[in-house]
């Protein structure tokens, strides 16, 4: 699964996600990637999110929207909301994976609960940064 989230100079957020699914999946299986709110979500009011991982669990959790909902209704920060979704709620349902997210103030998080996640971030004017494993 691949994905991107961005904040532009006008303060607009967007998210995109694309996938081939899971190796050896049953034909007709649909994961979280094409479902707004499950694997992909953007709302200028708070956050843009793209997910990767065990799609069925992300669907049940409405994982991407859950990050936004935690921020909106509980007032928690993006790092706290994203960590709670990936490192607590996803784990509790035996789900694996991670997400990338940007809030409306330009804060970026990329939590995951697997051994690695291919990821990167680039602020305009800065050198891009990429990573694979936990720092």
């Amino acid at each position: 699964t691949v994905g991107a989230v961005a904040l532009d100079s006008q303060g607009n957020l967007a998210a995109a996600t694309s996938t081939g699914g899971m190796t050896n999946k049953r034909p007709g299986r649909v994961g979280d990637s094409p479902l707004p709110g499950a694997g992909c979500y953007a709302n200028n009011a708070n956050v843009a999110v793209s997910c990767t991982g065990t799609g069925e669990v992300f669907i049940r959790m409405l994982a991407a929207y859950d990050v936004a909902a935690l921020m909106e209704y509980s007032g928690v920060s993006l790092p706290e909301a994203a960590d709670r979704v990936i490192k607590e709620k996803l784990v509790a349902l035996n789900g694996e994976g991670g997400l990338i997210a940007i809030d409306r103030e330009g804060h970026v998080v990329m939590p995951f609960n697997t051994e690695g996640m291919y990821r990167g971030v680039a602020w305009v004017g800065d050198i891009p940064s990429v990573g694979i494993w936990q720092e």
Binding site: A4, A6, S9, A14, T19, T23, N24, P34
Partner: protein, 180 residues
Amino acid sequence: MEKAVIAIHGGAGTLSRSNTSPETARKYTEALHQTLLAGQAILAAGGSALDAVTEAVRLLEDIPLFNAGTGSVFTHAATHEMDACIMDGRRLDAGAVAGVRCVRNPILAARAVLDNSPHVLLISDGAEQFAREQGLEIVAPDFFSTAERAAQLRQARGQEQVFLDHDVPVPPISPDTKFG
């Protein structure tokens, strides 16, 4: 407000350092770096977040290393079925496709659904017909296949399991290896 910014991912899984060669890691990091530069350039030129994420994902779909577009994993039936979604935070507009088999860049089909359709999610034959009507590139189903993904399917079938993007275990000795 902070500076414009883009973040990307190329999937998660069992990516242990011990099983990843420096050359493999370099290929992935270079692909991510080039994709970030493209997205960053759009934002630097005053482009929209929506255009930046569209282009970043389109580029990632065209890199066989990642499980999207070319390089997508196989279904149990040795086919490819791809899904994509895009969402615009300005008005909660969204477009998505699922189960497409011949659209070169599923994210462009999702973007077309967002831009040019009253619907949010189109699937399978209907999504492919819409992509054709939108003038998107249509390719043969085997366009998405790679030898690495075919090997992963054989292994997954043997174990009767499904695997995440980068989770197919590598056996100590390949069952395909022939010894004299």
